[in-house]
């Protein structure tokens, strides 16, 4: 790892100014924001990223609190530690989904350093991306090595020309909670975006990036906006299903964040977002459509099976496996089924 300057700005405004002094193009960025460092230090140590300076967001004293509004939606500062998200009292569908997702991230040691903002902005884990010798598309090269190589952990949905999966567990959970993010930029500018729109597909823009952030922008806050108090009948329930190859700590081979609003056992509204299978959190309108209007039958019944199969099939609409990741199709269907099983209790 090359020596770098370590800068501790006293505010987000100073931080974004400092970041704006770096290069405007991501491809040349030599100054980066750092929060918990659990991802970025790994990149620096393996040599896939080099910087001249790091701007430590933790030093800014920016928002690191969690606020709950009366309905149960949450406003969380980007610098909140995952440990604190994981320890949210499991009251209501929002807090319980987020707590479960956060608790499934990495190990206790990593969660105690890692931040929400860093989790949402972490870089891919594709085995090739993480090797300094492999200059693939994602790193400015001209080939995706995973496409014809070891792609067991890669995308089955939304892939091409890069086939990464977005590694964050909190991103699909938050997208399922209709979260919006607040972004601070240079010159005191701020903007808000639905979290879903923060992420891009490799085919949609700069293949070397996963978000629409510019080098001088940072996330400052995330707010969930699940319609908990509108006039629609019923109550929301949520389920987080993450499947790891190795229990204890591992990234998701596939994950499902599901929120259902249920009235008289009938599903009146739904959010289904997949993690670990696509280059961004993958919200499945097809799965939601397959669920809305259906009765939430109890596990073990034929009706339950029919619903689980229909929702699973719908969620995987358009899935195109590579040579070694076809298993993600039955796996993801299985996780949709497990989410429904939990919510039908």
């Amino acid at each position: 790892m090359k020596d770098f300057e370590y800068i501790q700005p006293d505010s987000i405004a100073t931080a974004t100014e400092l970041l704006a002094e770096g290069d405007a193009a991501w491809s040349n960025v030599s100054r980066r924001a750092i929060a918990g460092g659990q991802d970025l230090f790994g990149e620096l140590k393996t040599g896939i990223v080099e910087v001249d300076s790091l701007v430590d967001l933790k030093a800014t004293g920016a928002d690191n609190t969690i606020a709950v509004d009366p309905s149960g939606n949450l406003r969380i500062g980007a610098l909140v530690k995952l440990t604190d998200v994981a320890e949210l009292a499991e009251r209501g569908p929002v807090a319980s989904l987020l707590a479960a997702a956060a608790l499934s991230v990495a190990s206790p040691q990593i969660r105690s350093q890692a931040t929400l903002g860093g989790n949402l902005c972490q870089r891919p884990r594709c085995l090739y991306y993480r090797r300094p010798e492999a200059i693939c598309l994602k790193k400015g090269g001209d080939e995706c090595f995973a496409y014809g190589g070891h792609n067991k952990y890669n995308a089955i949905l939304g892939g091409g020309p890069s086939f990464i999966v977005h590694p964050s567990d909190l991103a699909p959970a938050l997208v399922a909670l209709d979260a919006k993010v607040t972004i601070a930029g240079a010159g005191g500018a701020t903007r808000e975006l639905p979290l879903a729109d923060l992420y891009t597909l490799p085919s949609e823009g700069d293949v070397t990036r996963e978000t629409v952030l510019t080098p001088s922008e940072v996330l400052t806050q995330v707010e969930t906006q699940l319609p908990l108090v509108d006039r629609m009948a019923g109550t929301w329930r949520s389920s987080w299903q993450k499947f790891r190859e190795r229990d204890g700590f591992d990234f998701a081979l596939s994950a499902v964040a599901m929120c259902l609003r249920v009235a008289d056992r009938r599903i009146v509204d739904a959010r289904v977002v997949l993690g670990g299978v696509a280059p961004r959190p993958w919200r499945s309108a097809e799965a939601e459509a397959a669920l809305i209007g259906q009765e939430l039958a109890t596990h073990g019944s034929a009706e339950f099976d029919a619903l689980a199969v229909a929702a699973g099939e719908a969620a995987l609409t358009g899935a195109e496996p590579l040579d070694h990741n076809g298993y993600k199709i039955p796996l993801t269907k299985g996780l949709v089924r497990r989410a429904l099983q939990e919510l039908s209790r």
Binding site: Y128, H150, K152, R246, G248, Y327, P330, L331
Partner: protein
């Protein structure tokens, strides 16, 4: 506690209630590690921890391509601030991924890393040559030659009986013939302390070296020559070390380079591999692919077996114990070859070649058994050798079967369902495996025991403790002899200045070391009892050591301190060496595993494992049990997670780190029951390797038993389970 002047040394003979195993006052029980507190608090000094004054840190620059020619200019490294030296390690050519090319020494690890980076970027010109990483690449027509002798080694074959007649015999009786291919990947030793050495040499006529090796005296093999010093002035030390598992027999290229840099600089050098280098340049358990055709009669007897196996040891030959492994098949033919690739050569690893053979053998046994409607336990019993060990394996198999709940298990002669039935999405299965190993000792340890006039007891031998508890044994065996506690004996090990010690490997340590310590202790007790007899006038034959070091008998009762106060000012010293009769060789074991297979997600969870071993006299129950459990954990990890990934086309290592080379962790390790065979009356035998053999095969068998899915390759990951289940369902 020994008696009488002319008795020969022997282990305690009392039998413990409950286990039926032999026990003494200290030995044969749970003895806590004497170095436990030092390790738990970080006080224990490993080689990696040593920081002599004026130290420089060295690091390797390693090859990132499998096969290449290169030219090297050291100047860019030497230009880096803090770098004090750099040297070439390979000469113009590298032949495996991760091969050390050069080393850089600097005043800090950071500066050394910078130097390596500078060298990689500006000092190294590489010409990439075609490579062979996979079996297919290595065996292809026109493949680049990995070794001058070719990529495929000589066939080693054996042929007994008449295989065709054996097959016919099974078929005539209504049995089956199956052909299957089983494959296991390369496994890494994954030592927590990487390979390396600290050389404390500042010019002059003496050096101390601290290496992470499996033999203290291995430090006299190479380093004196590299340092141009006489071995007598090269003090090798290995007080504590962080795991070897067979990969640390010699000082290696890391030891050579550390010494050479130190010699050149006249400064102490610290050279330990980083994790990536450790993965690709420090050995591994060889992979294997075997194709086997076998026939089984309806009674469960395998009547014929034919196998062809490829050993995948990279640049080395690989190891494979061969089929039918521990079983006996009357008509059997086997062929074995090495296939060489541009990857690091395999080294010994915990029962080299055995887990690989076990995976294929137990696999075909299960498949044949279910195809015949025979249960897998019966099938195993039907194929045990008809020798003196038949009964041992039989009682072990039956015991582990009972312990794991086999006799109450739902599906025994046919596997469980591969389809979800009703709300039943998780199915449970049980599998078995057998093992065999030597574990006997040999001459070589020279133990010195000293008792001082103030009652202090010290025992010294140069042997090393790989983390297995050898150090504790040295104290415990001595303490037992005199009725003392382990805390009253101070032990010194891990130094070439002490009496010679054997290399640890092949499970030989305990059976080599324990008899020698016992010999020294026994000789000392003879001397001390004679002193007591002389002082009291009681016939020595009536005297013996009792609790607390007292000598009693013939109406006398002498305290330890009083007895020792009668010694000469110089105390008493005895020397012990190996006593064949105190040890033995040849151990046998059976394991059973119970797993839950999630038919929806493909998740395999090991619920429970049971192991039964005969290991002669169990000196320290706690250590022996830990040793067995550690081996079972390693085989669980091999079964479910571990896989070295290399992109064969690019020749690129993909997971040389503990994040993506996955190891079992505390949440994946189930209760593991360890039973020692009480009917074993022999002396001490080593136990390090045998329990690492059958676990993976037993787990694969349990998956098969649970849902009918035989996975033909390790690791048993959810992708394979899910795709396998889909295939079974498609077949109906």
């Amino acid at each position: 506690m020994s008696r009488s002047q002319d008795s020969t040394p022997s282990w305690p003979t009392a039998t413990a209630a409950g286990t039926g195993l032999r026990e003494g006052r200290v030995l044969g029980r749970d003895i806590k590690r004497v170095d436990g507190p030092a390790k738990a608090t970080g006080r224990a000094g490993y080689g990696h921890d040593q920081r002599p004054a004026n130290l420089v840190f060295a690091q390797f620059l390693c090859s990132t391509t499998p096969n290449a020619e290169f030219t090297l200019d050291l100047a860019p490294a030497l230009a880096v601030d803090g770098v004090v030296d750099a040297m070439a390690v390979a000469e113009g050519k590298t032949v495996h991924l991760g091969q050390p090319i050069a080393a850089v020494a600097a005043v800090s690890p950071q500066a050394a890393a910078e130097g390596v980076r500078a060298l990689a970027q500006h000092g190294l010109e590489v010409t990439v040559l075609p490579h062979a990483i996979s079996i297919e690449q290595a065996m292809a027509e026109g493949a680049p030659a990995v070794r001058r002798s070719g990529n495929v080694g000589r066939v080693r074959s054996s042929d007994e009986g008449d295989v065709e007649a054996g097959k016919q015999e099974a078929l005539d009786a209504g049995g089956v013939v199956l052909t299957r291919t089983y494959e296991v990947p390369v496994q890494h030793h994954a030592c927590l302390e990487t390979h390396g050495m600290v050389v404390d040499y500042s010019g002059g006529e003496e050096a101390t070296i601290w290496a992470s090796v499996q033999g203290t005296f291995a430090m006299h093999d190479g380093p004196p020559e590299y340092l141009e010093l006489d071995p007598s002035v090269v003090h090798g030390r290995v007080e504590h070390m962080g795991g070897g598992f067979g990969s640390k027999f010699g000082v290696g290229v890391e030891g050579r380079v550390a010494c050479q840099l130190s010699k050149r600089l006249g400064r102490p050098v610290h050279l330990f591999m980083d994790r990536e280098t450790e993965f690709h340049a420090a050995g591994n358990r060889s992979g294997n692919r075997v194709t086997v055709t076998a026939a089984m009669a309806p009674d469960g007897r395998i009547t014929a077996m034919e196998s062809d196996s490829l050993r995948l040891g990279g640049l080395s030959g690989g190891s494979y114990a061969g089929l039918p492994y521990v079983y006996t098949v009357a008509n059997s033919k086997s062929a074995m070859r090495s296939v060489h690739t541009h990857t690091d050569g395999n080294r010994a690893m915990r029962a080299p070649g055995h887990p690989q053979a076990s995976f294929g053998m137990e696999g075909i046994l299960d498949e044949l058994a279910y195809a015949n409607g025979v249960d897998p336990l019966t099938a195993r019993l039907a194929n045990l050798p008809e020798d003196e060990w038949n009964g041992v394996w039989r009682r072990q198999l039956e015991r582990v079967a009972r312990e794991i709940g086999w006799y109450e298990h739902e599906h025994r002669t046919a596997p469980g369902p591969h389809e979800v039935v009703g709300a039943n999405e998780v199915v449970v299965g049980i599998g078995f495996g057998l093992s065999v190993w030597g574990g006997g000792g040999s001459r070589g340890n020279e133990v010195e025991l000293r008792v001082d006039r103030d009652g202090r007891v010290s025992v010294a031998v140069g042997t090393q403790d790989l983390g297995t508890g050898a150090r504790t044994l040295v104290s415990a065996i001595t303490a037992e002899e005199f009725g003392l506690d382990t805390g009253q004996v101070s032990e010194s090990i891990g130094s070439t200045r002490l009496g010679r010690g054997n290399m640890s490997g092949g499970s030989v340590t305990t059976a080599s070391l324990a008899p020698a310590v016992k010999d020294a202790a026994h000789k000392m007790s003879v001397v001390l009892l004679a002193k007591a007899a002389e002082a009291t006038g009681v016939d020595v034959a009536e005297l013996a050591f009792a609790e607390g070091g007292r000598v009693t008998g013939g109406g006398v009762d002498i305290a330890w301190k009083d007895l020792c106060s009668r010694l000469a000012a110089t105390g008493e010293t005895t020397h012990g060496s190996w006593v064949r009769e105190l040890q033995d060789s040849g151990v046998h074991g059976a394991q059973a595993a119970k797993v839950a297979v999630d038919l929806v997600t493909g998740h395999v969870e090991v619920l429970e494992m049971v192991c039964m071993q005969d290991i002669g006299f169990v000196l320290n129950h706690l250590a022996a049990k830990s040793q067995v459990q550690g081996a079972m954990v390693q085989s669980l990890s091999y079964a479910l997670f571990e896989e070295r990934l290399i992109d064969a086309d690019l020749g690129l290592a993909l997971n040389p780190n503990f994040e993506s080379y996955k190891l079992a962790n505390s949440t994946t390790i189930p209760p593991m029951k360890v039973l020692f065979d009480p009917e074993d009356e022999r002396g001490v035998i080593g136990i390090g390797e045998p329990p690492a053999i059958p676990g993976a095969a037993a787990i694969a068998g349990a998956v098969h038993n649970a849902c009918g899915l035989r996975l033909a390759s390790l690791p048993l990951t959810p992708d394979k389970v899910l795709m396998g289940l889909e295939e079974l369902r498609a077949r109906g």
